[in-house]
């Protein structure tokens, strides 16, 4: 097992990563499943964060993150290395979330999840709430704003949501978003523009 492998680090700070990952992928392809631990360890937080931002439910994000890595492992023989492994992994994650959202839509809506979270507070640890803690009113306002933004994001199509989240929550470049979604730059920008417009309509009374 590769327990001494690195955790998260930025791509720019590690230019030799692609070569190293290519070598590890070779080991995975030749039938060494344990070599895949490197990728899990390196990217699990990033994948979870992206998935969680899209689905806003920790348990679902956990299950989907696991699925993403299993799918990636199965698809390693098809990975040509044209994009960075992380970009490829993001693409799998975006597709997995899209499929999951489509499947669950008739059963439970995102608003229900957010409402349930508000009732029992199980999903979001109180310590993680970005409130200043100065007043209960402000805490309540914070939660209300989060719920409203969650509902507004739910109104976006899965693709628009993915593009919007990657741009404004993950701070990815247009090129990275294009690579992760299979869209050209112009289409990514068009989705961003339309997503922002929809959000404006949904959040009108917040401004």
């Amino acid at each position: 097992m590769a327990n001494d492998l690195p955790g998260e680090s930025s791509r720019a700070a590690d230019p030799g990563r692609r070569e190293r990952e290519s070598e590890i992928l070779g080991r995975v392809r030749s039938g060494d499943p344990e070599a895949f631990e490197y990728f899990v360890k390196t990217y699990q937080r990033k994948v979870f964060r992206l998935v969680y931002t899209l689905v806003r439910n920790a348990a679902e994000a956990d299950a989907l993150t696991q699925d993403v890595f299993v799918k990636a492992w199965r698809a390693v023989p098809d990975f040509k290395g044209e994009a960075a492994f992380e970009t490829w992994l993001n693409r799998i994650a975006v597709n997995a979330v899209r499929d999951s959202v489509r499947r669950r839509k008739p059963v439970v809506s995102f608003s229900d999840l957010v409402a349930a979270e508000e009732v029992d507070g199980a999903d979001l640890p109180r310590a993680a709430e970005p409130t200043d803690g100065t007043s209960p009113e402000r805490d309540a306002l914070s939660r209300q704003i989060r719920r409203r933004i969650g509902e507004a994001l739910e109104a976006l199509s899965p693709r628009q949501r993915a593009v919007f989240v990657m741009k404004h929550y993950e701070e990815r470049s247009i090129a990275e978003i294009g690579a992760a979604t299979g869209l050209d730059d112009g289409t990514v920008k068009s989705h961003l523009f339309r997503a922002a417009r929809k959000l404006r309509q949904k959040l009108e009374d917040l401004r």
Binding site: G31, Q44, F48, R49, D62, A128, I145, R148, A196, R200
Partner: protein, 182 residues
């Protein structure tokens, strides 16, 4: 005050810019407290939400990540074992068991396979010999004309032509039927 207030689209565009890099601040926004407040309110709402998401991920304990990693690698190990077993066994175990427990089925399958192989061998042999023999025949024997037909061949031809002419008309076709069926 310089110019008009920002439109709703412009306010959203200030908080969620489509283009990369810093966008120039409109002169009006720089001097209009109302527009500044509208932009700030939306930006604050978004940053609160983004902060909350980051907070959730960062507050998860190491045990969570370890358990998740273990679960992923466990699933992958299981899949790898199944795939390795499939590669090692040319036929699925269930199929092998069913064949061994049913001798009649095994014998029947073997007989069918042998018959198929024999049939294919005969057909292939015929096909391979066919074209070359035909070419050789065409090359060696000049085309036979009507004058060279034997008397028996001519009788056969006449008979076939008569049958054709009878079948070409409906009335004649009926004439071929037994009387009871006309």
């Amino acid at each position: 005050m310089s110019g008009r207030h920002l439109t709703e689209d412009e306010v959203v565009g200030r908080v969620f810019p489509v283009e990369e890099g810093p966008a120039p601040i409109p002169i009006h926004q720089a001097v209009c407290p109302e527009c500044q407040q509208r932009v700030a309110k939306l930006r604050e709402a978004f940053l609160l939400d983004r902060g909350a998401v980051t907070g959730v991920v960062e507050s998860l304990p190491g045990d969570f990540w370890n358990a998740q990693r273990k679960a992923i690698l466990g699933r992958i190990s299981e899949l790898a074992a199944v795939e390795a077993e499939q590669r090692a066994t040319p036929f699925p175990a269930r199929f092998t068991r069913s064949i061994l427990h049913r001798p009649a089925l095994a014998f029947g399958s073997l007989a069918a396979a042998l018959a198929l192989v024999a049939g294919l061998t005969v057909l292939r042999g015929g096909t391979e010999a066919g074209p070359s023999a035909a070419v050789a025949t065409v090359a060696a024997v000049p085309a036979a004309g009507p004058a060279e037909l034997s008397a028996a061949d001519r009788e056969d031809d006449d008979l076939l032509r008569a049958v054709d002419s009878v079948l070409s008309t409906e009335a004649a076709h009926e004439a071929l039927l037994p009387e009871a069926m006309r």
